[in-house]
Symmetry: C2
Subunit: 143 residues, 2 copies
Amino acid sequence: MDLKQIRQQLAKNNLKATRPRQAILEALAQASGWVTAKSLFDKLSGQEANIDFSTICRNLELLSSIGILCRVDRDSNGIFAYSLSEMDEHHHHLICRSCGKISPMEFCPLQQLNSTQTAGYSELECRFEIYGCCRDCQGKQGK
Amino acid sequence: MDLKQIRQQLAKNNLKATRPRQAILEALAQASGWVTAKSLFDKLSGQEANIDFSTICRNLELLSSIGILCRVDRDSNGIFAYSLSEMDEHHHHLICRSCGKISPMEFCPLQQLNSTQTAGYSELECRFEIYGCCRDCQGKQGK
DNA sequence: AATATAAATGCAAGTACTTGCATTTATATT
DNA sequence: AATATAAATGCAAGTACTTGCATTTATATT
Ligand SMILES: [Mn+2]
Ligand SMILES: [Mn+2]
Ligand SMILES: [Zn+2]
Ligand SMILES: [Zn+2]
């Protein structure tokens, strides 16, 4: 998803292309990997921008909710990692507990689910992440 | 899982049956539903117990990790809900975004997963929750 | 170009844990 | 029963957001 598509996506969702929001998206594009609210804040604070930490958090969450960003709970400790989505389709992530590496997975359990388990429920969404120890990290013991 | 089984489960994991821990487990047994760290803290603070909030958080997390408790992120906002596990087997949960109702689901996506997606990874675990709007809450709009 | 309006921001205060560390306590061993 | 030891606790400080609200700003309409 390039910046042109992102602007369209914003417009489609009635979201404004504010200066802070654009600075955040540009920083994400430059980073070309995963960032945290804090790492973005530190990066953007150096520049003239000076964007509030709460603005960053709100944007990361909002942009994730419309599919522009991916978000994962890297250590299951409330520190979220974000990146520009690596693919257009809905997907989930596989996370190495040891080195923090994050890989996309096409599999979505919601599609596999026998619908009797969610009978009567509407507006279904799921949260799904797999944690493990990647090949590079096996041998090197512990975290 | 009754209190006898719980004690065995603790011993098996080299966990002590401390006074705070037992008070927490008893409170959970009485509550017979879902509680938060804060609701437990408020309840136990009234009594002679007077257990530190961090002790409660640490126990809830620890007891969840050995399967005595279930834990869910009810509103995806970092407030966790806990209960004594309703079943012995590993399982996940379906959560109503509107009323907060939590129902167990036997389905575990990790078992359904094509193993090529996690090739090279060991010690796999998954986090999986489904959010939706339950039958009772449909009609009543919004949250 | 001026105006209206909904969205977004920045600030300050709040929330829900989380962590480090010295001290206490439950259990196993003698 | 006394002792050793690993586990757990309580306290204080820290972290990572989150929320409410007055003010600002981007976009659509006139
Ligand atoms: Mn992704
Ligand atoms: Mn359960
Ligand atoms: Zn790794
Ligand atoms: Zn409901």
